[in-house]
């Protein structure tokens, strides 16, 4: 399965009914996930890909595209 599809599936599980745009932030100003859901997305991605995602929280604007790029580079 393509990493992008895996990440999309994880995000979709936390945002049911939302149309996913890979360039929109995951948070309230984008896909509408709260801090708990975003933390869960990152933890699930870590488990799935075996790569730490903590550094993605050092700057604003976490998107699906950024998460996929990070996981692709880390694995």
């Amino acid at each position: 399965m393509d990493p992008s599809d895996v990440v999309r599936a994880i995000v979709q599980a936390h945002a049911p009914g939302t149309t996913l745009d890979e360039e929109l932030p995951l948070g309230a100003e984008g896909l509408g996930l709260d801090s708990i859901a975003i933390a869960e997305v990152l933890l699930e991605c870590e488990e799935r890909f075996g790569a730490s995602c903590g550094q993605l929280l050092e700057s604003d604007g976490l998107t699906i595209a950024r998460l996929v790029r990070h996981l692709g580079a880390a694995t």
Binding site: P25, S35, I36, A39, E40, L43, G54, D60
Partner: protein, 204 residues
């Protein structure tokens, strides 16, 4: 009730005065005199409230149960909503990792802004922050409700029984309601401990 709160606020200011007059002893110096109740083995999620010497909890527990991650939420002037959200996300993410590594977490259940669960509290309802209960769901760690209180110049920690809930859609609500019930029982037994922050929680 209002007399209790006034007494509590006056006492807090007297203690601050005493602390300044005593040469501002460090926290670790003060918490040599902490009474910590018996606790189960880590990982634990210590759910606390803004009552008494809150900041003593993390340091006091660390000396007894090993590594403790204590998150502190500060209001920062000029912080955007996105930045506040990112900070909360990072705290939850690091807390979950810390718990999975066998450590314990201290987390306030009455924060300024957060995703909340409304549960019965005294005659009405109050918003309790979801973070601790979500962490319990993610990691399986029990919630231990705990508050700190002054006894003279000594700090005493008071803890409830560890709370766990069965898997299910109402798991977080069940834990939050149980925690609020514990706090209500504690405040009914110790009305002098009610703080302005908790009074605000009761009125929200």
């Amino acid at each position: 009730m209002s007399r209790s709160i006034l007494r509590s606020e006056v006492r807090q200011n007297v203690l601050i005065y005493w602390w300044v007059r005593s040469g501002r002893p460090g926290l670790r110096e003060l918490i040599r005199e902490v009474h910590v109740p018996a606790l189960p083995k880590p990982p634990l999620i210590v759910g606390t409230f803004h009552l008494g010497p809150l900041t003593a909890i993390g340091a006091a527990l660390e000396a007894r149960i090993g590594p403790v991650f204590a998150s502190v939420e500060r209001r920062r002037v000029g912080a955007t909503a996105a930045r506040r959200e990112r900070r909360r996300t990072r705290t939850l993410y690091e807390s979950a990792r810390f718990l999975r590594a066998g450590g314990s977490v201290v987390i306030a259940l009455d924060p300024f802004v957060a995703s909340c669960i409304r549960v019965p509290f005294f005659a009405g309802t109050a918003p309790i922050a979801r973070g601790a209960f979500a962490l319990s769901r993610m990691t399986g760690a029990p919630i231990v409700p705990m508050v700190a209180r002054w006894r003279g110049t000594r700090v005493e920690l008071v803890a409830g029984e560890p709370l766990v809930a069965a898997d299910g859609p109402d798991r977080e609500y069940a834990l939050a309601a149980e925690t609020a019930r514990w706090l209500e029982d504690y405040l009914r037994a110790n009305p002098e401990e009610i703080s302005l922050r908790i009074l605000g929680l009761m009125q929200r």
